[in-house]
Symmetry: C2
Subunit: 223 residues, 2 copies
DNA sequence: TACCAGACTTGATTCAGGTCAAGGTGATGG
DNA sequence: CCATCACCTTGACCTGAATCAAGTCTGGTA
């Protein structure tokens, strides 16, 4: 989680080779897990390509997806000694891994990085606050609307009243587990939005918001 | 949010007077709000006495309490330019206020403070992750059980199999808004726990967990 | 000691979303 | 070009928690 932590931003006046020294690249195949919830936390990660999902599990298998991460996003802040979440590639993804020890050397060398990390954690905290409100207090319709709007805030849409094309790379199961709903409910609500001409569904992964501002209104619970 | 950030821990070898210089004490009366959601964020706060609740609101008044904070807890990390949450005293509370500018002077003077703040944000992130699972995937029974266990993790209980006395200083409304339930549901479930001899209710604010380990089991969804 | 107001509990009923059960759809491979 | 499989949609029904509606308890006041 954490958008565009071009980690370099805080050290761009310095030696990038040092950064490279402390990190290693890795590729994770579709569906492969690379962080195990509860496992001892040794590394931070930066997503450099593709997408990743973060989740927590209950013993009986119920799953809550706590976030999706993509290029530039930072993973591992929500971890002290052990990871508070699991992570898995959504499609194939590439990552940059920073062992904690190396990270510490980096923050010592570039103190502003520490500040950058805190900023990132703060941004993430604010997002989570909103997500708690979604999960605790919003209706299914509001949740799906919020999800769609969230997705298009990722892109910098030019005009909020014009249609926006969205790409939903994650299966319905993941959307459901992200929103605290079932796949059936997600599916039904997307169909309802289609019937109401709020969206059009070109294909499973490709949706157009026909009236983004109306969807925003629904998302905020102002129907 | 953020437990026992004795902010001084990271600068205890230094001049405490500097810290005092950058902060001011304040007292907030019961029910009084001191952080307005969405308002420009100028300060960090440390709770020095009493309790505080943090929340976000939907336009129609639905409320999600995102956390309770008490002595030593740190507020304001989930804020960049504007606060992502509102805050209100639960009973009368005392706070230490650190304007951002002063905070910056402090982190410049005591670099380890920056690290401390990130640590705090991380801890908070991990907690929120768990809370998202609660709100998205747990049943009402599991939520109330989790809440009770959370409350007694605050104290350092000596023996998990022995009864634990708890004090719930917040009204049922707050518990409900924290757990994403209604007050009626919270009340019914507490009554059910009482009937099942899992807890005893001495008074509204004073509850004893008779079988903490069974309540833990319920909390984890392993009934 | 009785009264009152606010907070909590309990009960009856409703309903949003879950569960269960068929179908559809579209990408892949034979 | 069809079969297969995984994923998605749709429908019928059910249920957990919300809503609506009385009570009840508590602590403060006089």
């Amino acid at each position: 989680m954490g958008r565009r932590l071009s980690i370099c931003n805080s050290i761009d006046d310095c030696d990038l080779a040092v950064l490279a020294n402390e990190s290693s690249r890795m590729t994770v195949a579709d569906g492969r897990s690379f962080i195990e919830e509860g496992a001892p936390a040794h590394d931070f990660f930066v997503v450099t390509g593709g997408r990743v999902k973060l989740f927590t599990l209950l013993p009986d298998g119920r799953r809550q997806i706590t976030g999706f991460a993509e290029g530039g996003d930072f993973l591992g802040l929500a971890a002290s000694t052990s990871y508070a979440f699991g992570a898995e590639a959504l499609g194939s993804a590439t990552l940059c891994r920073f062992p904690h020890a190396g990270m510490q050397r980096l923050t010592e060398r570039f103190p502003s990085l520490e500040h950058r990390l805190r900023e990132e954690a703060s941004r993430e905290l604010a997002l989570m606050q909103a997500r708690m409100t979604l999960l605790g207090r919003k209706t299914a319709r509001e949740r799906v609307a919020t999800f769609l709007i969230e997705r298009c805030t990722h892109l910098d849409r030019p005009d909020p009243t014009r249609p926006v094309e969205l790409d939903l790379p994650m299966p319905r199961t993941d959307i459901a587990d992200y929103l605290g709903l079932t796949i059936e409910t997600v599916s039904r609500i997307l169909s309802a939005f289609k019937k109401e001409k709020l969206i059009s569904i070109r294909s499973i992964t490709h949706i157009t918001l026909l009236m983004p501002e109306r969807i925003s209104t629904i998302a905020e619970g102002m129907e």
